[in-house]
Amino acid sequence: MQTHAIDIQALKRDQPQPSGPAGPAETSLRMEQLNLFYNNSQALYDINLEIPRQRVTAFIGPSGCGKSSLLRCINRMNDLVDGCRVDGRLLLENEDVYDRRVDVAALRRRVGMVFQKPNPFPKSIYENVAYGLRIQGINKKRVLDEVVEKSLRAAALWEEVKDRLHESALGMSGGQQQRLVIARTIAVEPEVLLLDEPASALDPISTLKIEELIYELKSRYTIVIVTHNMQQAARVSDMTAFMYMGKLIEYDDTDTLFTNPEQKQTEDYITGRYG
């Protein structure tokens, strides 16, 4: 039996993994007893979760289960909602995101976010990507040119747009717009990328391009993705968290969760059964 177990480990190690450093991933984000309230109603209950660095972690679950709320806690997007209150701790690289001294703008530079609907600014492709740097006061053309090219290449968009950088971003296809938004987000070199249903408004081919991009990007960023598409979670993520009614039901490596989940609720959800 011993050799059997060792072989399995060897197989896991040998899998193609452009997922950053070899060996076990370190924790990037840690949630401890996290609770979230919107006025008097509770949206998240005692979430304890460790999200590994330079891996893709997916949150899945039915609508209203709290997966987007949880994602929004990470860069404090929930602060914008009236009556929203968080207790418990959420640590990014061991610093509490909800500490009084945290500069929220700085936090959001470290934790970039991409939404369901592509939201390019009504500017040129170039200016969209350069935007984050410009608001940081960086205006040197040489620096901007370099960052724009690097970010567009990283977002697998450079070849498609290099000849029309100064045309409006609104003339791009939905899939291109979403990759542009990802380029804009990574231009400021965040540590964490939050993707909230990044491909649900896109056609299957654009979806695959985004998924391929996620795979490429995880060598540099910690990625957290919320998705309704379970096959997508199965395809892109290393770890998967299943949530239901504001609670974290099961969190495991994606292979295990999709082949042999521990909880019946998880099983019923991913196989499409009545709860």
Partner: protein
């Protein structure tokens, strides 16, 4: 853990029907293969070449089942992208089908030996004691493996896997005694070789039944117990 009626609970009724159908086809195939082995052994013991021919002809039906069930599995994989226990069910069915088809082949081999034996005068005196004994044991293993599959019964599957050990040792003992016969009387070499082939086939059937039982454990518990020693197997199943 997979429960008995759980594939009837999908939101998609069509998916329920597809899984139900492929599982039923597998059980039908299992029933047919069990019959083939039973008939093949009977035809040998009773020197009934007619029955043996029937078994040889029946193998085509077993092969058709294999192809049809595999097609159903491919279709479900391609169109439904099953996950978790559904995925394990489809994979287990696809593997069990292969084992059943091989058991069908062994039945044909035994039937061919039966045709040969019925033509050989020398074998008329043979009592086939070893074959009778091992075929009972192996037949029971196969029945238990299929029942375990139908009922998702892990305990029965574990018993079946463990039973394979005693079949293996009975096989070794039988081989030794047949070698002794041949040494005592060289005229028996040809018919005894035939018996050895049959024993070999039956031992293989036991191995396939064991594989089926291992697939039942995988299906129900998600536990891969291939190449695991019996003690360790019991530990793993109890732990989970």
């Amino acid at each position: 853990m997979l429960q008995q009626d759980s594939y009837k609970q999908h939101i998609s009724a069509q998916f329920n029907a597809e899984l139900e159908s492929v599982k039923n086809h597998l059980l039908e195939m299992g029933g047919l293969v069990e019959q083939q082995i039973g008939k093949a052994v009977d035809s040998l013991l009773n020197r009934d070449s007619g029955l043996a021919e029937e078994v040889i002809a029946g193998d085509e039906q077993v092969n058709d089942f294999e192809i049809r069930i595999d097609e159903e599995c491919f279709r479900i994989l391609a169109r439904r992208q099953p996950a978790a226990s559904d995925l394990r069910l489809v994979l287990a069915i696809s593997k069990v089908t292969t084992d059943l088809e091989r058991i069908g082949d062994e039945a044909s081999k035994i039937a061919r030996q039966a045709v040969k034996a019925s033509e050989e005068a020398a074998s008329s005196s043979a009592t086939f004691t070893e074959i009778r004994h091992i075929s009972n044991h192996v037949g029971e293993m196969l029945r238990h493996a299929l029942d375990a599959f139908a009922r998702l019964d892990v305990d029965m599957a574990v018993e079946t896997v463990i039973a394979d050990r005693s079949v293996d040792s009975e096989y070794a003992t039988a081989m030794r005694s047949l070698v002794t016969f041949m040494m005592e009387d060289p005229r028996t070499i040809s018919p005894v070789l035939g018996q050895m082939w049959t024993l070999r086939s039956l031992e293989r059937v036991g191995d396939h039944a064991c594989n089926i039982a291992e697939n039942v454990i995988y299906l129900v518990r998600g536990l891969d117990v291939r190449h695991v020693e019996p003690d360790e197997l019991i530990n793993q199943v109890e732990e989970k």
